[in-house]
């Protein structure tokens, strides 16, 4: 058992639980950032420093910042917090809880059956090897995701255009 890895895991789970239960959206997002950072540490511990850094740059450094940006723009106040509190009352969380438990069970079952070593540190894989693999066996995935990004770019441009204007 790798104690450091377990510790990161505990932090990730705790922070995620807090992210779900906070009623102030920005606090929830901050706990989500902590959870993502703990996840990045786990990747690094498992021998994937490149994936760890991408996790920090892309998720913590860009996507969650955009979430915070949106939350700042709509500026949720006291009434929204009260409404959020209401959502936690009663049995509202039972349904999602059962589904999440099912998923968790599946995940545990899958990892138990898999022959691959889970939770053990492998040899660290540098950025060069990741690049070679991405542009070798996984080239199709890279190309497909580039299509997806292009589609996203075009639609963002379409939505952001000035209606009735020249540009």
């Amino acid at each position: 058992m790798n104690i450091v890895l377990e510790l990161y895991g505990l932090i990730a789970i705790g922070a995620t639980a807090l992210a779900i239960t906070r009623t102030i959206p920005v606090h929830g997002l901050l706990y989500l950032v902590v959870s993502l950072l703990a996840l990045a540490c786990m990747f690094d511990e498992l021998g994937a420093p490149f994936a760890a850094m991408l996790e920090i740059i892309v998720y913590a450094g860009a996507i969650i910042v955009l979430f915070v940006f949106v939350v700042m723009m709509i500026n949720l106040g006291q009434p929204d917090q009260l409404r959020e509190k209401g959502w936690f009352a009663g049995g509202a969380w039972i349904g999602p809880g059962v589904i999440a438990a099912l998923l968790m069970g599946l995940l545990v079952y899958g990892t138990q059956r898999s022959t691959m070593a889970v939770g053990t540190a492998g040899t660290p894989i540098g950025p060069q090897q990741v690049g070679l693999t991405l542009y070798g066996p996984y080239i199709l995935t890279v190309e497909l995701s580039s299509f997806l990004l292009l589609a996203g770019l075009v639609s963002a441009y379409h939505i952001g255009r000035r209606i009735g204007g020249k540009s």
Binding site: I24, V26, H27, L30, V33, A40, P49, F50, A52, M53, L54, I56, I57, A60, G61, A62, V65, L66, V68, F69, V71, M72, M73, N75, P124, G126, P127, Q128
Partner: protein
């Protein structure tokens, strides 16, 4: 025993060195601005006004540290700490001399710096949000858009260097510049990187998150005492970091004739910090939308072009 003490020594000296450089560069900035604007600048406290740094630090430490009652307390407290830590952590992967670096060999060093810069955005955004003040909120939102956008160009412009050196480790990048500094083949990349560095540290002329004639003091309107001091120090440490990065990535790091490695590194960083200050004295602030459209319409295509040409040259050199 030595193997434990040496890294700790390196870390402690680097941290305090960065703090010292940040503190002294506040003084340097005021004196240089004085020179550029044909006035003496602060010259009363101690020889050449050097003790002004200490006087300012004392003032900052003993000022009343006030948290506004309408602010979101925990976030308000943590925001300056995040910004300061993020900049300080970046210095860990910058190799200062061949033997003096905390983790200069890290094989994802450059990515680590971009990760930390990404986290640094939170400091300004959260400060703006938690202050519960309209000026601060506007400053925070400007900061979020500006810093995320310019991080993109910063990352893309540096890819030319990564391709030429074939590594993300800053140590390897410096070693690849033994014969020819990257500023010569990568001039376009260097210019874009420097501009993005100015926007990323939100220094003048790109200081929109705190543009005082538009939005008060921006994101740190509600901050006082040492919490403001941390933003202040983080800004100057950011300037030093940006200068150190340009030095290691484009100006050959510690390489240079005759003088010892550390001196070369220090001279290059010092000159770049002075250039930062000259920029502040020489250029007026553009409009916010001009900054954003300049980034996305000029810097983005240029940095992509830089990657394309560099890639072609690298392939030609390899004889593919």
């Amino acid at each position: 025993m030595m193997s434990i003490i040496w890294p700790i020594l390196v870390i402690v000296v680097t941290v305090f060195g960065v703090l010292g450089v940040a503190a002294v560069s506040t003084m340097l900035e005021r004196r240089l601005l004085g020179v550029f604007q044909d006035r003496p600048g602060p010259n009363r406290v101690g020889p050449f006004g050097l003790f002004q740094v200490i006087a300012d630090a004392m003032k900052m430490l003993f000022k009343q540290d006030w948290i506004p009652p309408f602010a979101d307390k925990p976030v308000f407290l943590i925001a300056p700490i995040i910004g300061f830590l993020a900049v300080l952590l970046c210095f860990g992967v910058v190799p200062i001399t061949p033997i003096w670096s905390v983790a200069g060999n890290l094989n994802v060093g450059l990515l680590f710096i971009f990760g930390m810069l990404g986290l640094g955005v939170y400091s300004v955004v959260l400060a703006g949000w938690s202050s519960n003040n309209k000026y601060a909120l506007l400053g925070g939102m400007r900061a979020a858009a500006q810093m995320i956008s310019y991080e993109v160009f910063m990352g893309l412009s540096v890819m030319g260097v990564v391709m030429a050196a074939g590594s993300f480790s800053i140590r390897d990048i410096v070693d690849a510049q033994t014969n020819c500094w990257f500023i010569i083949p990568q001039f376009l990349g260097a210019v874009i990187f420097f501009l993005a560095g100015v926007a990323e540290t939100h220094r003048l002329p790109f200081d929109f998150p705190e543009g005082e004639n538009e939005i008060g003091a921006g994101f740190h309107t509600e901050y006082s005492g040492m919490k403001f001091g941390m933003f202040y120090l983080a800004e100057y440490a950011g300037v030093a970091l940006s200068s150190a990065l340009v030095t290691t990535l484009y100006l050959g790091g510690w390489h240079g004739p005759l003088l010892p490695p550390f001196l070369w590194f220090a001279i290059k960083v010092f000159l770049l910090i002075c250039f930062y200050i000259l920029l502040r004295a020489a250029l007026p602030r553009p409009r916010y939308d001009q900054l954003m459209s300049f980034g996305w319409k000029v810097l983005l295509p240029l940095s992509l072009l830089n990657i394309l040409v560099t890639g072609a040259v690298v392939l030609l050199r390899a004889g593919v």
